[in-house]
């Protein structure tokens, strides 16, 4: 059965704490931390963007499973912060990996679930016999308006899954999606920062879609929450995934390993996929994983996954694990953060 042949992630090295953001905007840091369950978030360096993060994540996947890059048949990249409005990130990544000229590729966009939509697409192409391997990437350098609550969580990072039909370390048994037109979060063309439709953020958007996709997957697989060793959900903050896990009947032991937003922030298209990457760093043969993404607008993609014997043969330390990237950090204050993220108006001799 088709599934994940290899995986790799990348989280920028810089971090900022909510206390530092709250200090600048005169907010109560404790109240914010208790509201969103986030203690730090990643910050991209000025020379990092979705293309560089995607390349690093994909290269990490190929370090764990060095296939000939000419055998990659498709590259799909999901993000809401592609570096260009017109000119694909996928072409840059393909060139950096040394992929073949004969290649299916595109950039995807569906708020935070565009990367998992790419996974479904690549899996379908493998199952249809169009390609032997494909890469799906979810990656973002998301922006929250200065002073907005999103500024405490909007972070940067990404994960790449090499998907194929042979030697899979994790079989994708089932996948399903739900979609509805919901005005919970959007960004108009040309606007630097997104807007959220407060009333729609929680129940009608995140919870409804995530719950529905999870329920649908468990119905298709004939499984119950207790059949899973791990569960991972989209994680816009630390609170929502914890609550949806409990509503669905999952225990903390099942969801804690895939919950990274409290320490790296919300990596948007990278969020659920990076949580899944952290699970694959630890998983053993036979482990079962429920993974559900969510994208505002709105929709959810669900996956029922079983880890195979092949994971035992993989050198997972051939690329940095999520824990490695959590251990190797540099802290910045708000001034440096504002400079890195181009949040300050500058003179003509500053790029």
């Amino acid at each position: 059965m088709s599934g994940i042949v290899s995986y790799g992630s990348y989280i920028p090295k810089y971090r900022i704490r909510p206390e530092e953001i709250a200090r600048v905007w005169g907010e109560d840091a404790e109240k914010i931390k208790n509201g969103i369950y986030v203690i730090s978030k990643s910050v991209p360096s000025p020379d990092e963007d979705v293309a560089t993060i995607s390349v690093e994540a994909a290269r990490n996947a190929l370090k764990r499973r060095p296939i000939n890059p000419k055998h990659i048949g498709a590259i799909y990249i999901g993000s809401e912060s592609h570096p260009y409005a017109v000119k694909p990130t996928a072409t840059i990544v393909a060139s950096a990996l040394g992929a073949d000229f004969n290649l299916f590729s595109a950039d995807y966009e569906f708020a935070c679930k565009a990367g998992t939509a790419g996974m479904q697409n690549v899996k379908a192409m493998v199952d249809a016999g169009n390609i032997s391997y494909g890469i799906a990437i979810g990656s973002d350098t998301s922006q929250g308006a200065p002073g907005d609550v999103l500024e405490y969580t909007a972070s940067a990072g990404g994960t790449a899954f090499l998907i194929g039909g042979e030697d899979v370390i994790a079989e994708i048994n089932h996948t399903a999606s739900v979609t509805s037109d919901t005005p919970d979060f959007w960004r108009r063309e040309g606007q630097p920062y997104p807007t959220h439709g407060e009333r729609f953020t929680g129940e009608p958007a995140y919870f409804k879609h995530t719950r529905a996709a999870a329920a649908r997957i468990m119905e298709m697989a004939g499984t119950k929450p207790e059949d899973y060793d791990y569960a991972v959900f989209h994680q816009p903050n630390g609170k929502f995934p914890t609550r949806v896990a409990k509503i669905l009947g999952f225990r903390e032991e099942q969801y804690k390993d895939g919950l990274l937003t409290p320490v790296i922030g919300n990596t948007y298209s990278g969020a659920m996929m990076t949580g899944l990457s952290a699970i694959l760093d630890k998983a053993k043969s036979g482990d079962r994983i429920l993974a559900v993404s969510f994208g505002s607008g709105a929709g959810s993609d669900g996956f029922d996954i079983t880890v195979t014997d092949a994971i035992g043969k993989m050198d997972r330390h051939a690329a940095p694990t999520i824990q490695d990237m959590l251990d190797n950090v540099k802290w910045v204050d708000y001034s440096i953060y504002a400079k890195f993220k181009k949040k300050i108006v500058v003179g003509e001799n500053i790029a």
């Binding site: 000025p46 293309a51 560089t52 390349v55 290269r59």
Partner: protein, 133 residues
Amino acid sequence: MGELSRFWRESDHRYRLVAHKCGNCDRVYFPPRDVCPTCHRESVGKMEPIDLSGKGEVVSYTVVHEAPTPFTRQKPYILAIIKLDEGPSLTGQIVDSDPEEVDMGKRVHSVFRKVAEDGKSGIIQYGYKFVLD
């Protein structure tokens, strides 16, 4: 547009550290060369592209305080000569470290980063930089 064409032509070596290896003497050249400067005519048609690992060590470095416009947000930045494990030496930026963390002999590996942006509407140039191991 001259700059745009040059970057596009050089994307294999800038993006992936593709070097040329002389089929006659096995020397590795980066940036790639069409003819081996040692073997001359003997090397014609024998220069093979190889992907460098990006692993190497710091031979020397300097801290740049007067940065050109594209690097102003990274000032001061570190420029180093790196000797790659496959033989060639090249100049590259060391990122994600403070100058006091860098030293001669330290191991580095290459990363893929933005090198320059042509204003707000021009092309973004990507390429290799280095981080400490």
